[in-house]
């Protein structure tokens, strides 16, 4: 027996109504609704691949029950920008070679955005700390750090080297 509730959640700027069982995580709900840009990596909050912004703060969506985000603003990586108008973080990740297999990248970009909301002018330590909950097995992180620095400068309106 599953108990469902009709929820109203804002996802990437659009209000969505969905009937969701009590035990459904936000990750499962988002993917069921077609937001497959949110990646499933461990379902235990260890890897960060499923991170989304909830009211501007990066949270592992596998650790959040869908019911608890009712009325909140959820943003996934696809909600930040698209191929035609990429977000500065997306632009910098692309240009800097920070993307390899790409599976961790949605969570990485979300975690970076969450930090930039608080710290628009981050140093390397800020960046490392902000991304420490997001595992990457391909890149060794270096180009990711550089991309975040570049994006932060872009957002601040500074000329890029």
């Amino acid at each position: 027996m599953t108990f469902e509730r009709k929820l109203s959640i804002r996802i990437n700027g659009q209000t969505v109504q969905a009937a969701v069982p009590a035990h459904r995580t936000l990750l499962e709900m988002l993917r069921d609704l077609g937001h497959v840009d949110v990646k499933r990596g461990c379902e235990k909050g260890d890897c960060g691949a499923c991170a989304v912004l909830i009211d501007g703060e990066a949270i592992d969506s596998c650790l959040v029950l869908a019911w608890t985000v009712e009325g909140k603003d959820v943003v996934t990586v696809a909600g930040l920008g698209d191929a035609e108008a990429p977000h500065p973080l997306q632009k910098a990740f692309i240009a800097n070679g920070a993307v390899q297999c790409g599976y961790c990248i949605p969570g990485m970009i979300i975690a970076a955005q969450s930090m930039l909301n608080e710290t628009p002018n981050p140093n390397e330590d800020n960046i490392r700390l902000a991304l420490s909950g997001n595992l990457c097995r391909c890149t060794g992180y270096k180009k990711i750090f550089e991309a975040v620095e570049t994006a932060a400068a872009m957002i601040r309106g500074e000329a890029i080297r």
Partner: protein
């Protein structure tokens, strides 16, 4: 001018696309969340599957009751070995040749004997994942424990439980070269050490996943995250259909590192979709993934080296024992790589290697980046430091006196044709460490170097081939078709870059279709650091054939000979006559109008050889080798045992960097994986049972742990790949762990012979030394 900038300058004059750090074609889709991975697809009416696994490592399955699970509403299918065809799943080397099949078959689901923790007992497909899990919980089984064996050395003793074959020894390789007695007699000193390495998990971020359905032609389609679409043959054989009735559609893969080289979910999916007639999706949980695919082989490596007081190695005797785990999989090949790599990039004329892979009730072991060569490097480079220490010779100088040089034969007696730039790489990496960081009251600073020799391309007795098709559309755009899978290193983008270079178009004009066993020409596996070498060459051959026809037509148009025609920047022109040009598309249209063939299917063949001599190990093993070095400076906290990598320098001769940014990506990623290998990663099994089944227990390096790696890319242009490229995928990892091990030893003055070098082991080693003083 150093080699890097010299190489870059030369590439700039030679090439328009090659040697440039162009944005990879797959990057934008991935960064904006548009790329669909294998797990991001669904089909109407799709079922969801789970695998029920054994909770013990060694037992007899006495009873398996599935009736309650089958009766649960919403459950479509429960399969046990009773329902399966009387077939086994081959676990041999994958790919297109298959002329050397070994007896490596594995039961698909447990029939009677359970040989490892997590061995699959049953498959369940249901309307939802939740229902499938509920059904799995309703399955009752009875097990009778069997005595297991969990140590390869114990498994070789008479009377040990037999897991595979007659005596658990699943592979043996040897090298016998020169005269050992003479070699040791010429030595002033003999240095002997034993090094041990651990089980390692690939830890790709995307767990194994696939979606299968049967189409209107009765073809089983499987969209799956794999490095090898050409498993379709083994899959078809296993489920009992002809080879042309299984189609594998690979997606962009969310990391592989060898862990998606063997079959993962494919056979389960094929069986379930055949039994239900419905699409079926199977995604491993992280725990499933940790439990359910082969690991990196732990090795025990004993090195006995004879050396003169001047530091010349006169003889080397090596014994290698690898834990193959419960099934054979790629153990014989991994062991062979380790055997060939055993002496490292050094000239050792009197050489004896005896290697064995031994079955146990641990998790089976198979491919992992470095494939045995990485384990060997951990031993031979620590041994070099130990020799230097015992002779009182500088470690770099000791290496300098023993390097294998260009043109000299490697361990198998085969002289490779490419450049051996080990010395250059070591010197440059070592020099780039700069001034040493000062130590403090509670820290010690140490430095380490490791050189390596790592093959690229598959074993030459496998007779490896790769196919690619290149065509030009009438609007001037280029299509590349090749079955090669893209596992995140930019394999497809590299092919685009190569075809753009040859045809003189811009990268944005090229689209690559890859990774479909039915519609793209079969290109072999993305394993063994072979994709750029093999498929890059195939694409180059195909593109050159197309180019030659376009050039021929353009020459006719301009009334010149073809050698005067130049391609570039989407234009075709006469050399030294800037006014005589036309758009690339115009000559394509001319060819189309006249029926001149605008496409080509090409095959590239690696060198084909026989197997190595079974008694001496002599002959050609691989097409070619990459050489390089990694240097690090570490800080060890002597109170807590914590190791921080302060500097990390990688110097590799990559032959020719097709895309230097992608090459750096491989090197930086390899450095992080090597760091985990050296310091923190270990799959720990107790009586075969995995005790580290999540990222909370199995720790891979995070953003807080890694140094900013400096890459020194050398380009000898001597490789067998396109434009003289060598492979870098595996080489990037190979020297990292031994460099770190050597640095820690340098810092604390004690050698820790077993990886990983955890804080606990460092503190214990320091305490033991104090106690001994």
């Amino acid at each position: 001018m150093d080699d890097t900038t010299a190489g870059q300058a030369l590439a700039n004059t030679l090439y328009r696309q090659i040697g440039k750090g162009l944005v990879r074609t797959d990057a934008p889709g991935k960064a904006v969340g548009k790329t669909k991975f294998a797990g991001d697809h669904s089909l109407p009416g799709m079922l969801h599957a789970v695998v029920l696994r054994s909770p013990v490592a060694s037992a007899r399955l006495v009873k398996l009751e599935v009736e309650k699970a089958r009766a649960l509403p919403g459950v479509a299918c429960v399969l046990t070995s009773r329902e399966l065809p009387d077939r086994l799943a081959p676990t041999d080397i994958p790919g297109q040749t298959g002329q050397v099949r070994m007896n490596t078959d594995q039961q698909i689901l447990v029939r009677e004997r359970i040989r490892y923790f997590g061995e699959p007992l049953a498959l369940i497909a249901a309307e939802t994942v939740d229902l499938a899990r509920q059904a799995a919980d309703l399955i009752k089984f009875e097990l009778e424990p069997l005595l297991g064996v969990y140590d390869p050395e114990e498994a070789m003793r008479p009377g040990a439980p037999v897991v595979q074959g007659e005596d658990n020894i699943v592979a043996t390789h040897k090298i016998k070269k020169g005269d050992m007695a003479e070699g040791f007699a010429a030595a002033d000193k003999i240095v002997e050490n034993t090094f041990r390495t651990q089980f390692i998990e690939h830890a790709f971020l995307e767990p194994e996943v696939g979606l299968a359905w049967v189409d209107e032609n009765d073809v089983i389609n499987i969209r799956v995250s794999t490095q090898v679409i050409e498993h379709f043959r083994f899959i078809a054989d296993t489920v009992g259909v002809p080879h042309n009735k299984v189609r594998i559609l690979g997606s962009l893969v969310g990391g592989g590192f060898g862990g998606k080289e063997d079959i993962t979910v494919e056979i389960y999916l094929a069986l379930l979709t055949m039994h239900t007639g419905r699409p079926v999706r199977l995604e491993f949980s992280r725990e499933d993934s940790f439990v359910g695919h082969g690991k990196r082989h732990p090795f025990v490596m004993t090195y006995r080296t004879g050396v003169t007081n001047d530091g010349l190695i006169t003889a080397l005797e090596v014994r290698l024992t690898a834990d193959a785990g419960a099934y054979v999989f790629l153990s014989p090949y991994v062991l062979l790589y380790a055997t060939v790599a055993a002496p490292g990039p050094y000239r050792i004329d009197n050489l004896s290697v005896d290697a064995k892979a031994v079955a146990t009730n641990n998790m089976y072991t198979s491919a992992f980046r470095g494939f045995g060569s990485a384990q060997a490097c951990i031993a031979y480079e620590q041994q070099m430091d130990e020799i230097a220490l015992s002779l009182g010779i500088d470690r770099i100088e000791l290496r300098r006196r023993n390097y294998l040089k260009t043109g000299e034969p490697i361990s198998t007696g085969y002289p490779i044709s490419s450049a051996i730039w080990t010395e250059k790489c070591v010197e440059q990496a070592w020099a780039a460490l700069g001034e040493p960081t000062p130590s403090t009251a509670t820290t010690r600073i140490g430095r380490g170097i490791a050189a390596y020799q790592q093959c690229y391309g598959r074993l030459t007795f496998l007779h490896d081939t790769s196919e690619a098709w290149v065509g030009v559309e009438v609007d001037g755009t280029v299509v590349v078709r090749s079955g090669v899978t893209d596992i995140g290193a930019g394999q497809a983008s590299t092919l685009a870059q190569i075809s753009a270079e040859v045809l003189g178009v811009n990268l944005s004009n090229v689209v690559v279709y890859n990774s479909d066993s039915a519609t793209t020409p079969l290109a072999g596996t993305t394993t063994a650091t072979r994709a750029t070498y093999m498929t890059g060459n195939a694409v180059k051959l195909a593109a050159e054939a197309v180019r030659d026809r376009l050039v021929g037509r353009a020459a006719l148009h301009f009334g010149v000979v073809p050698s005067e025609i130049v391609l570039g920047d989407n234009q075709i022109s006469v050399a030294d006559h800037p006014d005589r040009f036309m758009p690339f598309v115009d000559v394509v249209r001319m060819c189309a109008a006249e029926g001149i063939h605008r496409s080509e299917l090409a095959i590239f063949r690696a060198p084909f050889t026989d197997r190595l001599d079974p008694e001496t190990g002599q002959g050609q093993a691989h097409p070619d080798y990459t050489f390089g070095a990694h240097a690090v400076e570490v800080e060890v906290d002597i109170e807590t045992g914590e190791v921080t990598i302060l500097k990390s320098i990688a110097a590799h001769d990559v032959g020719q960097a097709i895309n230097p940014v992608a090459v750096e990506g491989q090197i930086e990623g390899g450095a992080a994986q090597g760091q985990g290998y050296a310091l923190c990663e270990e799959m720990i099994y107790r009586e075969g049972k995995l005790t580290t089944p999540s990222f909370a227990e199995y720790l891979i390096p995070t953003a807080m742990d890694v140094p900013n790696v400096q890459c020194i890319i050398l380009e000898s242009r001597s490789g067998l790949g396109p434009f003289g490229a060598k492979g870098i995928g595996e080489p990037a990892l190979t020297p990292v762990a031994p460099a770190i091990a050597n640095a820690v030893s340098d810092a604390i003055g004690v050698r820790i012979y077993d990886l990983p070098i955890t804080p606990e082991r460092i503190v214990a080693a320091l305490k033991a030394r104090e106690g001994g003083c």
